[in-house]
Structures are given as structure tokens and as C-alpha cells.
Symmetry: C2
Subunit: 473 residues, 2 copies
């Protein structure tokens, strides 16, 4: 492709993104295509000869876009958000153009040093302890796996890396923990049976006494407790595990404390939300995702550790072909995680933080928190609806309750969710809390305004009314 | 940022990338900054208030670019290449703008279905067996870890996921294998001591008889052989392990056969290079990196498996909050690897394959292979230099040899490499083959032409001459 063609389509795609940001509301939030519909429209074999960029873009426009579920839609209330932002997209253009592979300092000195600096900024922004050192991972799944592996090595004196895992090591989290903990426990060889799901209180937060009880029982049975994963902001209901109490138990029993704050961590840039981090001094590791609620393109997960040497000792490899003259003086981030190859992710974080400024980011998060409180008040005021969990952050868990008893309520709420989402006007997802089917409205998309939350509530009420009318319960 | 500002800087950055592609030769290939130099120029705290994009870009230009090692430089001969291309960068703009998180089919139907289609294209392009199914991973490190984990689960009847790894399982690879195998073996809990590095022949390829011998010995000792990792194109010298012979041994002993073709795999788009894949019918899994030699932005690793059900069973998790109505009819790629969250990586592959066409891609690879043969002939014709390994692909391993015996040769070649790279005109790296320090010249950057390889050779000769003159050996 010659320079002029690249430039022409580069401009065109920038325009496309600019329009997309402005007009995303015209699309249904969740794509309405049927399984196989996109695939059927694509040739099953690759083209032998070059195709023009016009043709390729035309297919993108006609075939791909109808199959996109719009994570950047202001009426995105599903899962947690995965935000981008103009500054982040701009940075991604440069990152893609430079095409650096940032495995070692020498293969991209600026990427390694910018990562160190920007992770220092994030640490300060969240008010994390000074002693923590940061590294960018792709996702919280990966960061948590890193934590579990480092905990495994520490508790076995770095012997499982050498001789293989032979002991029954135990991991603890609450019964509200994210599925990535289970996945990590399996990958690292602990085994699903050695993950204890500690009971939670009425706010869905881990009960410290129950944790200590489980640790004592395991010790009595000859098992070796290794790691506790506490969650700040569970996926189901953003419950906040009591860090200080859990930390004290970890300290007493010599357990690794990993904190999964994938979504909620960003809220700690607000001084008024720092209460979540009380007990942070006990943390061995901490992860949160700027790609969720800090407007930085997926993927970008911020992982902080108290003891980088333990992390490095868990992962480092020393093949001759990767040695460079600077190895003793620099950070080679290839030894700070699973993958050898690494993208230049620090650049987009740097662009985003500078483009908004800390106060700019705070303002958006404060508005999201305000909107959640507002939505919560609407739910509470409407007797047909029921709030299903506390709202410490910007996720509201609720359900329709016609007051005729539990039987059939799950099915009714499932139908309600389907009707709401079928509208295409909003996208919500569900969860299960104490076995009950619950609707989740997660506020956190960068462009979500009061009018979007209000429209969602009007739609929910309308669909609920319709459902109650036709319901033959 | 308003739409006009985004558009203005979007254009500006597209221009920057267009110029970068054209003018990258004006930069030294490997950044000459000293450790700490970039960091010292960056503020240690984040800005409280928003900064203008002019200011941010200005800092990118002045502070960051001097610290970039230019992987897209045509005189990049280090490691293996990590190519981008105009089509790939264009796709990345759209990917960043859409900002989809592709964990489940429903969260991005187009991404899931395009991935399925494009991986089918790659399978056909490489002439891989029909029975293989593809999924995009970030890196070969991750793909190989997936293979090791699936092998672990298959050999333990999917019990280590549940009860934890308790048996001594053994993994085999050649003594030339990539460091990511050792890393994966440690992560998956096998333990470094249970990785057997099978001896290699004079071409640095695994000796099948030695593999079988090792397997028999381990069985005799009561250990359980689990997995063989064969390499097509080792990192040190692109040695090609004999797949068919290794495959037969795996078949006989019921071992998982994973094939790491991270760099070399792309060459299989050339019918004349398909000999590498003889025995492919024995493979349980196969990985190659389009981000290396297929002009698709890092990260993009193509992982193929014979039995997707085994892969899924290794990784799947079923939290309520991820369930969707379509789960039984679609591919949810979150269950095909380590991470839950996934970028929309299929788009750039689609753009690249269509923009070049299969024949267009073949032409570039054929030219790289031709240039390597040419460079090899220059080395062979110059009596001061010595070829250190066969050249089956586009990597040439060589060294300076003044004919005065082995003592001091390593040090002399180390000095030679330093002088070559200090010029900034080219970037080469080194390896160790049978304990000897060897220079690697890897040809594979998209824009590398004969003049770049020729200039590299002239520089190497000039520096060697200088060194031989001043050497007091």
C-alpha cells in the first residue's frame, strides 16, 4: 500500500471513529445478529490476490458492524464497562504504527521506562502504599494468575517451579469471587478442590472469622494455606471484602494477600472512596483494570506487588538469545509475567491520564457514582421493584417482585431482562445472588449521562408493567 | 476532547505513522538512550488538570521517540521480526475505536465469527490438516502454556484441574527449545526438573531416538510422560525438528504433540516449504505468530488444536454472570485460553490477508528466503567468517573466525556484535550454539530489501577487519 492510500484510509478511519463516538447511540447496544449470520456472509477461503482497501472497508461496514455489540454505547449497563476514550484511541494509532515489541528494556527503552513512570502515577492516584511496584498486564485474569503463582512459589520456597507442585496448597476467596480465581487455581495446579469459598455476610462481603476458621481447619488437616484473594467490588454486586481484617489474618498465618479490584480499583482515585483500601498495607499484590473504568483501551490491567523480586524469581528465564548488556541496570518486564512478548501499553495510559488530568477523571467517576445512587433511589421508591444488594459503587442489583412469593420470580425476571435487551435501547446483564436471579445495572461507560439512566429506568418500568399485566402467576 | 480535536490529531498521527513508515531508516535501529534517561525526563507525579494534546504529542516526539528501538526498520535483523503493515495499522484504528471486549460470542458476535473464519483461512494457507481448529492467542508463550495445560489434563483424566497436580508428569523438547517452554512447564506445575531437553543432531534438530530413549527411561522410573514440544524453526538457528518421526513416537506412547512454529510457521504459506509440516497429522496442537512474519501487528498468535473439546474442558468456567442465551450454539472464546477478556484481533488479520492476498504475502516471504541464501553465500565465500548452522529459513548464524583456535573467539565475536550495533545502522543479536557465541542475522522485516542486507554485510566486514587489525590475539 502506498503512502497516499494509507493516509487516505487512515483519515477515513479516523473520521469513522469520530462519527462512531458521536453516533453510537443510533445502533442497538447488543447486536441482534443470529449465530452463524456473519460467518455465512464471509468467504470460507482466503483471497489469492490483493484486494482494494475500499472493498475491505465496505465489507467491514456492511458485514462486520451489524455484528458488533457496542461496548462504547452510553446505554451500556452490562457486565462492567470496557471503556476507550479519544486520547486512548489516538495513542493506539501511534502504538500500532511504531509496532514495538516490549519484552526487554533494550527492545524498547521508552516503553519500559514510561511503564515504570505511569505505574508510579497510578499508584499515587489510587493512594496505594509507597512500597508497591507496578507492571502492566493484559487482564486481571493474568494478573491474578501471576499472584497465585508467586504465592505458590513463596510458600514452597520456590521449589514447585523446580520439582513440580506436589503439596496440597490451599487458596481462599469469598463465595462471590470472580471466575478467574477458579481458573487461575486450576492453571497453577492447586486444583479446584483446594479453593475455599469463604461465606459472605448480608452485604456479600467475606466474613473474616469464617476465613480464619477455614485456614485453621485446613492446617489441622495437614494442608498448607497459601493465598487469600480478597475482592474489592465483586462482579455480582461490587461487594467490598474487609481488607484490614482479612489482612491481619493473612499476616498471622503467613498467607499471601492478593486483592482483585478489577473494576472498583479506579474508584480509589476519589479520596472519598479510599476507605475501601483500609488495610492496604497487608497486600502482597493488587490488580485493577484501567481498561474498565479509567478510559484506557482494552487491554490494560495494572498489577502492583510488594516484592518484585519474588515475582521475577517466579517467572525469570535466562536464554542466551535474550541477554543484553543492560540487564543488570534495567527492568526487563518479560520476567514480570506469563508472556514473553509485550505491547507498548504504557503509552495509552500516559495519554489518557494527561488528557483528562486526575481531576477530569475524578469528575466522570463521581458522576457515575451519583447516577447509581439516583437509580438506586428510583428502585427503592417503586414498590414493584426490590434492591438486591448494597450499592457501594456504581452497580445496582435489583429485581422485579410482584409480591406473590419466590416461586416463579426468577423466571419472571429472566423474561424481563430478555424484553429489556431485545429493545436494543440498553444492555443489562444478570447474576445470581443467594440463588436468586438478579438484574445488574452497571454504570461506568464514559459517555453515560443522566438521560441514559433515566431512559433505561423508564424502559425497565414499561416492560415490567407489560409483564405484570400479561403474567398469569 | 471534542470531535474536531480528535479528528485533527487523528489525521496528524496517521501522517506521523505514514512518515514513520517512509523515514524509519533515518533513525538508529536500536535506541541509544542510557538506562534512566527517559524516566528522568518524565514527571514523577500525574497532572491534576487536563493537558492539551499538542503538549502530549510534543512530549511523545521529544521524549519517547528517542527511546524507541525500531522493530519496523528495514535493517532490523535482531531476534525475530515483529512486523506490522499499513493494512494492519488501519485495522487497529477501527479496533481501538470500536473498543469491543470479545470474551463471549454475544459481547461481539462479529469478532467471534470473523475469528473462526480467518483462522480457517490461515489453516488453509499453511496447509495444516483439515481437522485442526484455530483460536487467536496473544503470544506463543500463552499458546504453548495452553498446550501444556491441556496435555496435563488429558494425561490425568482432567483430574489435576480438580484435585491439583500430584503426579510427576514429564515434558520433552529439544535442547534448542524456546525459553517459553521452560516457563510454561513451571507455570503449569510440572516443575523444571521434569522437562527433558532431548539432544539434537548437527543441524540442531531433535534426535527422535534420543526422545524415545528418554521416554522409556522415564516410564521405567515410574514417571508419566505427558507432552512433547517439537519446534519448527528454533530461536537460536531455526532448526526444524523431524515432525513425522517425533509424531510416531508420540503416537506409540500416547503423548501430546505440541508444535511451536512461532516464527517459521508463516513460511508454510509457501508450497515449497511445506516439507516442514510432514507428519502434521500427528499434531495435537500447533502455534505460529502472524505478528512475527505475517505482517500483523503484535500481538496475534494463531493456535490450532485437534480436539477443541479438550481445550475447552481445561479452561471453561460457568459463572452465572457470564451465561447468555446463545451459549449452546456459539463459540465463546473465553473458554479457549487463559484470559477472560479478549481484544478484537481477527480484524487486523482479515485486513492483512485481504490487503496482500496470499500471493502477495508469499512474494515477500520468498524474497526474505532469497536474501538469506544470498547472505549465507557471502559468509561462506569469505574465509574470515564461518557459517554456524544450516539455513533452512531466513536466519543466518555465523561468526568471525581468525583461525587461531577457539580461545578468545567468543569474546571477539561479542566485541564485533557490539561494534556493529553501536553504529545504529543495523541491529543484530546473538545466541549460543554448542557453547559458542554466535551472531544471528534474521531476515524477515517487511521492508527489508537486498540493499539493506548488502549494507549490513559491508558493515560487518568493515568492523571485522578493524577488529582483526587491532586484535592482539
Amino acid at each position: 500500500m502506498d503512502k497516499e492510500t494509507f493516509r487516505k484510509f487512515g483519515y477515513k478511519f479516523v473520521d469513522w471513529v469520530a462519527d462512531y463516538f458521536e453516533e453510537v447511540e443510533k445502533y442497538p447496544v447488543c447486536s441482534a445478529v443470529k449465530p452463524g449470520e456473519i460467518k455465512d456472509r464471509l468467504p470460507s477461503s482466503p483471497p489469492l490476490h490483493a484486494e482494494r482497501m475500499d472493498t475491505i472497508f465496505d465489507d467491514f461496514d456492511k458485514i462486520i458492524t451489524p455484528g458488533i455489540t457496542h461496548w462504547q454505547h452510553p446505554s451500556w449497563f452490562a457486565y462492567f464497562p470496557a471503556n476507550n476514550s479519544p486520547a486512548s484511541v489516538l495513542a493506539e494509532i501511534l502504538t500500532a504504527g511504531v509496532g514495538a515489541q516490549c519484552m526487554s528494556w533494550q527492545t524498547s527503552p521508552a516503553a519500559a521506562e514510561l511503564e515504570e513512570v505511569v505505574m508510579g502515577w497510578l499508584r499515587q492516584m489510587l493512594g496505594l502504599p509507597d512500597g508497591l511496584t507496578g507492571v502492566i498486564q493484559d487482564t486481571a485474569s493474568t494478573a491474578t494468575l501471576c499472584a497465585l503463582l508467586t504465592a505458590r512459589e513463596r510458600v514452597t520456597g520456590f521449589k514447585s517451579n523446580q520439582g513440580g507442585l506436589r503439596e496440597p496448597l490451599v487458596v481462599y476467596s469469598s463465595d462471590q469471587t470472580h471466575s478467574s480465581i477458579e481458573k487461575g487455581v486450576k492453571i497453577a495446579g492447586f486444583g479446584r478442590e483446594n479453593l475455599r469459598l469463604v461465606p459472605t455476610d448480608e452485604a456479600y462481603a467475606m466474613i473474616p472469622d469464617k476465613l480464619e476458621e477455614a485456614v485453621r481447619q485446613d492446617k489441622k488437616r495437614g494442608l498448607k494455606p497459601a493465598c487469600v484473594v480478597a475482592t474489592l467490588g465483586t462482579t455480582s454486586s461490587t461487594a467490598i471484602d474487609p481488607l484490614a481484617d482479612i489482612g491481619r489474618i493473612c499476616g498471622k498465618h503467613g498467607l499471601w494477600l492478593h486483592v482483585d479490584a478489577a473494576f472498583a480499583g479506579s474508584a480509589a482515585i476519589l479520596p472519598e472512596m479510599r476507605w475501601m483500601l483500609e488495610g492496604a498495607e497487608f497486600m502482597d499484590s493488587f490488580v485493577f483494570n484501567p481498561h474498565k473504568w479509567l478510559f484506557t483501551n482494552f487491554d490494560c490491567s495494572a498489577y502492583f506487588v510488594k516484592d518484585p523480586a519474588a515475582l521475577i524469581r517466579t517467572f525469570e528465564i535466562h536464554p542466551e538469545y535474550l541477554k543484553t548488556g543492560h540487564d543488570s541496570q534495567v527492568k526487563n518486564y518479560r520476567d514480570w509475567g506469563i508472556q514473553l512478548g509485550r505491547r507498548f501499553r504504557a503509552l495509552k495510559l500516559w495519554f489518557v491520564i494527561r488528557s483528562y488530568g486526575v481531576e477530569g477523571l475524578r469528575a466522570i467517576l463521581r458522576e457515575h457514582l451519583r447516577l447509581a445512587k439516583l437509580f438506586k433511589s428510583w428502585v427503592e421508591e417503586d414498590e414493584r421493584f426490590e434492591l438486591m444488594a448494597p450499592v457501594p459503587l456504581s452497580l445496582v442489583c435489583f429485581r422485579l417482585n410482584d409480591g406473590r412469593g419466590e416461586a416463579g420470580l426468577d423466571e419472571m425476571n429472566k423474561q424481563l431482562l430478555e424484553k429489556i435487551n431485545a429493545s436494543g435501547a440498553v444492555y443489562l446483564t444478570h447474576t445470581s445472588l443467594r440463588g436468586r436471579y438478579v438484574l445488574r445495572l452497571a454504570i461506568g461507560q464514559r459517555t453515560t449521562q443522566e438521560r441514559h439512566v433515566h431512559a433505561a429506568w423508564e424502559l425497565i418500568k414499561r416492560e415490567a408493567e407489560e409483564l405484570l399485566k400479561t403474567s398469569n402467576r
